[in-house]
Amino acid sequence: MADLAAKLQLYFSYPFVWYALIVGLLIALCSSLLGVTLVLKRFSYIGDGLSHVAFGAMAVAGITGLTNNNYVVIPITVISAILLLRTGQNAKINGDAAIAMISVGALAVGYLLMNLFPSSANISGDVCTTLFGSTSILTLKREDVILCIVMSVIVISAFLLFYHKIFAVTFDESFMKAAGVKAGVYNLVIAVITALIIVLAMNLVGSLLISALIIFPALSAMRVFKSFRSVVICSAAVSVFCAGAGIFVSVMFGTPVGSTIVVTDIAVFFIFCIISLFTRRKAL
């Protein structure tokens, strides 16, 4: 026990562990807020689709040789998000087919580009890091943390400012349009915020696991809570807790960060399922 305490002190004396915690908690918070909306709009898989697009964009950015990949990745991901989320109800290609096409296409193109124009010696390592996150969250530089803080502040403020509108447009878009609300604009806001969060979250859990970070906290909250506001708050709390616990466990016990966070999310989801069995019975 004392040994664990000593290890704790040792590990948490490193700045990069604190960077990981700050970034992890912020990303978890932002993605859980969005997660509720995306799950309810039946866009749960968008995290996956957009992260594959970001992967392809990173390959393209690698070719151009820019110092900061984000200059290419963020615009491409934002535009794809807008295209995907706005195809909505009247598209010739339905939402899920569109996501599948763009997602797989970007992954294939990205991997091909990375092999044709390698920007580093270890291609499979880069791919692996991007897909699974590996330890990238523990190798953040201070500028990364600052960027993350700034983006999180933007995302959270946008969400708070547009909260009622996001709720209304998610619940019933045609009613709002009929009533003269510019639903298209708010869908655009949601799309842009989603893209920003996904680019950020790729650092935390990697492309393959982003969907989990977006949907699990929302689904857990929806099992138990009854109003949109309580669902959003609970989803945020669950997400932050799981991210913190996941990072803590992975630092202390040497497990991969991304998967540990997702496993914690899954465990919490099961706990909420069990809780809902009891609360449902009470209602009857």
Binding site: A2, D3, A6, K7, Q9, L10, Y11, F12, S13, Y14, P15, F16, V17, W18, Y19, I22, N68, N70, Y71, I74, P75, V78, I79, I82, N122, S124, G125, C128, T129, F132, S134, T135, L138, T139, K141, R142, E143, V145, I146, L147, I149, V150, M151, G184, V185, L188, V192, L196, S250, V251, M252, F253, G254, T255, P256, V257
Partner: protein, 173 residues
Amino acid sequence: MKRSVSLISLTLAAAFTLGSCGQKASDTPNALIDAIVSDAAGAEPNPSAKYVTADSDPNVDLDLTAMNSTMVYSVIYDIMVEPEKYYGQTMKVDGFFDTVTDDRLGTRYFFVVVPDAAACCSQGLEFMLDDSKSYPDDYPETAADIEVKGILDRYDEEGQTYYYIRTDELKVL
């Protein structure tokens, strides 16, 4: 349509501005980070001998063999990125042995390579035994598991500073 186009351009402009104005925007977050990190890590953000754990070697400042793979990888990355913080510390690392030559300069380099938890990425820390040892007689086989114990030192080559572990203890595991 026009409105969405202008909104998209606005968002992109904002993203670019943020990227480039990182400096100005970073003052408050910087102060915030400093507050968190220095509060937690103490005045010296580097580990010292008082953080010795049950299975770590008390004779070295930084015993990476007693840490789990996630931490080892991150600490080595930290050493690569900010080696000045670790200059002069004694450290103990295990990994596998690798060697490369620079054909142009005719020099040979030795590394202890450490993979990450998923074993898909790895980093190599350079080390040097003293001049009395020669390759290949006194060195292990490539990819052999080794443990290196020494002091982080540095040298200059062609205008670049390189950090390495100066060691006389190379154990084959």
